[in-house]
């Protein structure tokens, strides 16, 4: 029996610093450990800042999904203020976060994940007449001929493994990889029209959006979204289907526990009837969301505060990191702490959050008929059931399903905006108040909790973010985190090029900066 440890450190093309270790016995993963490698401590540092500062600071937890933190922070403060945005405020908020999320889906698939499946070197065989692909071909040829120390960087080196064989799949995806960068820039422009800038849109405040929606702005926004629509509905979805046809086994690889958590996302103009519902699906059974079921645990995380398990949000104002000496001790210790990420649990269960959770929960709730029709038709076309959604490709596919749904919604919302009317309701910051805000970031369920003092300054702040759910280390019971579980049982063809592991971890779109904030 051969046993070997495979460490991937750093895993690139994700947000942040992630390391993971697996033990391979006879070519199969028998143990897995994911370590978040960065710590900042933003939640507790917020104590003493003005309540409105939380929005600007927490969105800087993450430069990839800042919009979601801005929204969650605004919702939390609105909850503490006891207000809701007005008609325009809610619509503009949807339009900012929706467009941003679309950009993020494209970023994740094309820039971060696609080249784990698509063979960039296939471009050398290209004989067609598309200028953009031809010029890539010429560039790769020249690079390979050159005597550079790092030829064809940043595309080489890569893991040498089985990439897509179909020339058409490769050529189309490479062309779309290049095209996606343009579409992404357009989508961020759409965000900036009402958000001022992307990343880090400033205008998403508690009370709505500070930008006044003039007809000119609305028209510009609409035309940018429409120009992105075909790419998202056709190219993006088709590229995923093409990859799925080349790698059907990836509808089995990367299965996790199969329990899902999501929060309500994208409401109507009254802040109700969300496009995607909140709730949990445990053992296949959907239930509505109850925040009382959430606890956090840090037995295996680099913190020394006690208690280290069953901690409720806002229960403690202290989360003290271990020092460097203690850190080195923990690293040496068998069964020691191994991640900066904490381990949140729902009803004591390890939940997967993200695209699959959002699609399955919403489907099972039956509250979005259009989504159910879309899911049914895709499942029929590809011969899938929800069982196959618990996989690498299931996650990619659900992102494309979401993107298709979101783009229709934000276009509908654009039509409903009343031009030139203020989208902001002003309130003073609330004193001695508590609030929470829930939304869905690109990568899954995001919650913020805020508590203010007698001066309207922050007394306590808590965030439980999507990647913390997914990338969490073991909890006090010793059960593996969600992504760790996905790695278990995976067959590794070549331990020197463990692309299977990279594909699995990237399929969850980990955001380490979020996870450890």
């Amino acid at each position: 029996m051969s046993e070997r440890k495979i460490t991937i450190d750093p895993l690139t093309r994700i947000e942040g610093h992630l390391k993971f270790e697996t033990i391979i016995k006879d070519g199969v993963v028998t143990d897995a450990k994911c370590s978040a490698e960065m710590y900042r401590g933003i939640e507790k540092a917020l104590i003493g800042y003005d309540a409105r500062v939380a929005q600007q600071v927490t969105q800087r937890v993450c430069g990839v999904c800042p919009y979601a933190h801005a929204e969650a922070a605004s919702l939390a403060l609105e909850n503490a203020m006891g207000i809701k945005p007005n008609h325009n405020g809610q619509l503009l908020r949807n339009m900012i976060v929706g467009a941003y999320q679309l950009q993020d889906h494209l970023l994740h698939f094309y820039i971060l994940s696609a080249l784990d499946f698509i063979d960039i070197t296939a471009v050398l065989k290209y004989e067609g007449d598309d200028d953009s692909v031809l010029s890539v071909k010429k560039w790769v040829q020249n690079e390979l001929k050159s005597n550079k120390i790092f030829p064809a960087a940043p595309f080489l080196p890569r893991y040498e493994a089985m990439y897509a064989k179909g020339n058409n799949t490769n050529f189309t995806a490479i062309k779309n990889y290049l095209e996606a960068i343009k579409v992404m820039a357009d989508l961020t422009k759409a965000v900036a029209i009402f958000g001022a800038k992307a990343p880090h849109p400033v205008t998403l405040e508690a009370g709505g959006v500070t930008t006044i929606p003039t007809i000119g702005k609305l028209a510009k926004y609409r035309s940018l979204i429409i120009s992105a629509r075909n790419f998202i509905k056709d190219n993006y979805l088709n590229d995923i289907i093409a990859v799925a046809k080349e790698f059907p086994e990836y509808f089995k690889i990367g299965a996790g526990y199969g329990d899902y958590l999501s929060y309500p996302y994208l409401p109507d103009e009254n802040g109700e009837n969300h496009l995607f519902v909140g709730g949990s699906t445990i053992d296949g059974k959907y239930e509505e969301l109850d925040l009382k079921n959430i606890f956090e645990d840090h037995k295996y995380s680099y913190y020394k505060s006690k208690p280290d398990s069953n901690v409720r949000p806002l229960d403690s104002t202290d989360l003290t990191p271990i020092n460097y000496e203690e850190f080195k001790e923990e690293q040496k210790k068998e069964g020691g702490k191994y991640s900066w990420s904490r381990a949140p649990r729902y009803k004591g269960k390890i939940m997967e959050v993200g695209p699959v959770a959002r699609v399955i929960n919403t489907y099972k709730s039956g509250k979005n008929k259009k989504l159910n029709t879309l899911v049914d038709s895709i499942n029929k076309k590809l011969g899938l059931t929800f069982k196959e959604y618990n996989s690498v490709l299931g996650r990619h596919l659900c992102r494309a399903i979401m993107a298709t749904t979101i783009i229709d919604k934000i276009l509908e919302d654009t039509e409903k905006v009343i031009p030139d009317e203020l989208a902001f309701v002003e309130r003073a910051v609330p004193k001695n108040a508590v609030g929470f805000g829930l939304t869905e970031a690109t990568r899954g369920a995001l919650a913020h909790w805020i508590e203010t003092d007698e001066n309207g300054l922050i007394k306590n702040y808590d965030m439980i973010v999507p990647t913390t759910w997914n990338i969490s280390p073991k909890d006090a019971s010793g059960a593996l985190g969600a992504v760790e579980k996905m790695l278990m049982g995976t067959k590794i063809k070549d331990p020197d090029n463990p692309i299977e592991l990279a594909r699995i971890v990237r399929s969850t779109d980990p955001c380490l900066a979020c996870s450890v904030h």
């Binding site: 093309r13 610093h17 390391k19 104590i47 003493g48 993450c62 290049l178 960068i181 992404m184």
Partner: protein
């Protein structure tokens, strides 16, 4: 790597060069020289310290020419954490090789700050990121602090943080590494600023002229306030009393007067917007004081005026 033909790329690239303000020194002849190898393309190594990837994402959004065109036609991008296909051990090998074989021959772009008091607060390849930062900055020809965290500490250096971070400028001084550092604060970094620095470096092999804080004078010689669209309203003492009013936003918490930046010339996302034009006071994201204790507030917020100006933070 390109989405454009050569002719188009050069045409578009000239637009970019004009937009970032490099047209007075970087000509079409220079571009052609770069394309056919008569002018050396700068090597670039990019690392994340304690960061959020916002500056990288922002760089991806540059318009007119795709970022991949810029990186592959006009630079040799040796390593970028979000673009490179290399992963795991391949990365540490590339970095070790680059610091030896490309010694004094690459621009080192740093995104995020460097935790020094808590070295374990940012690890890569089983080593604290501060060791990588030391190794890579010592071998670089110059360092670029991309974004406010790298330039001043920013969010990662706010009150109450315990990782004890340093900007790359401070860090190189602390380690006695004598390399030029150019700071490009803005949260996130403006892609135009980095492109300008890259072209300046390609042409002159130096970084542009800097102010006392290490920022290029070209972009950071004036405050946002001094060039503000509401500057005349300010002079007339016409202040907005609430969001949505027209007038100077100073009394709603605007940080424009204490923030040096060129937002009114180079706005965000290909000049689509700026915070002030979007009806929101400047939050001072490029300032050395970012983030302030109170930013957007109501018109008569007493706290902003006196009582809490010197508020002591807990902990």
């Amino acid at each position: 790597m390109a989405i454009l033909t050569r002719r188009d790329a050069i045409k578009q690239m000239l637009k970019v060069i004009a937009a970032v303000g490099a047209a007075n020194f970087f000509t079409v002849q220079d571009l052609i020289a770069m394309e056919n190898g008569r002018m050396i393309k700068p090597n670039i190594v990019w690392l994340h310290g304690s960061s959020c990837s916002g500056c990288s994402t922002s760089f991806l959004n540059i318009e007119d020419v795709s970022v991949l065109d810029i990186l592959t036609r006009y630079t040799n991008i040796i390593y970028h954490p979000d673009i490179s296909l290399a992963t795991g051990k391949q990365v540490t090998e590339i970095l070790n090789k680059a610091s030896k074989e490309l010694k004094d021959n690459y621009l080192f772009v740093v995104e995020g700050s460097i935790p020094v008091a808590m070295p374990h607060a940012c690890m890569m390849g089983d080593r604290p990121i501060m060791e990588w930062m030391e190794q890579m900055s010592a071998s670089a020809s110059a360092c670029v602090a991309g974004g406010t965290c790298a330039a001043f500490g920013g969010i990662t250096g706010m009150q109450g943080m315990d990782a004890g971070v340093m900007s790359i400028g401070k860090f190189t001084k602390y380690k006695n590494i004598n390399k030029p550092v150019v700071s490009l604060p803005n949260c996130p970094m403006k892609p135009e600023h980095l492109v300008y620095v890259i072209f300046h470096y390609a042409k002159f092999k130096t970084i542009p002229e800097l102010d006392a804080e290490g920022r290029p004078l070209r972009f950071f010689s004036q405050t946002v306030h001094e060039r503000c669209i509401y500057y005349s309203e300010f002079q007339e003492k016409n202040y907005a009393k609430k969001i949505g009013d027209s007038g100077c936003l100073l009394k709603l918490g605007c940080q424009g007067p204490v923030t040096k930046n060129d937002c009114m010339t180079i706005g965000h996302n290909n000049n689509t917007n700026t915070c002030i034009k979007a009806g929101h006071p400047c939050i001072g994201c490029a300032s050395e004081h970012f983030p302030r204790q109170i930013m957007l507030h109501t018109f008569k917020d007493e706290r902003a005026i006196s009582k809490f100006r010197h508020f002591k933070f807990k902990g």
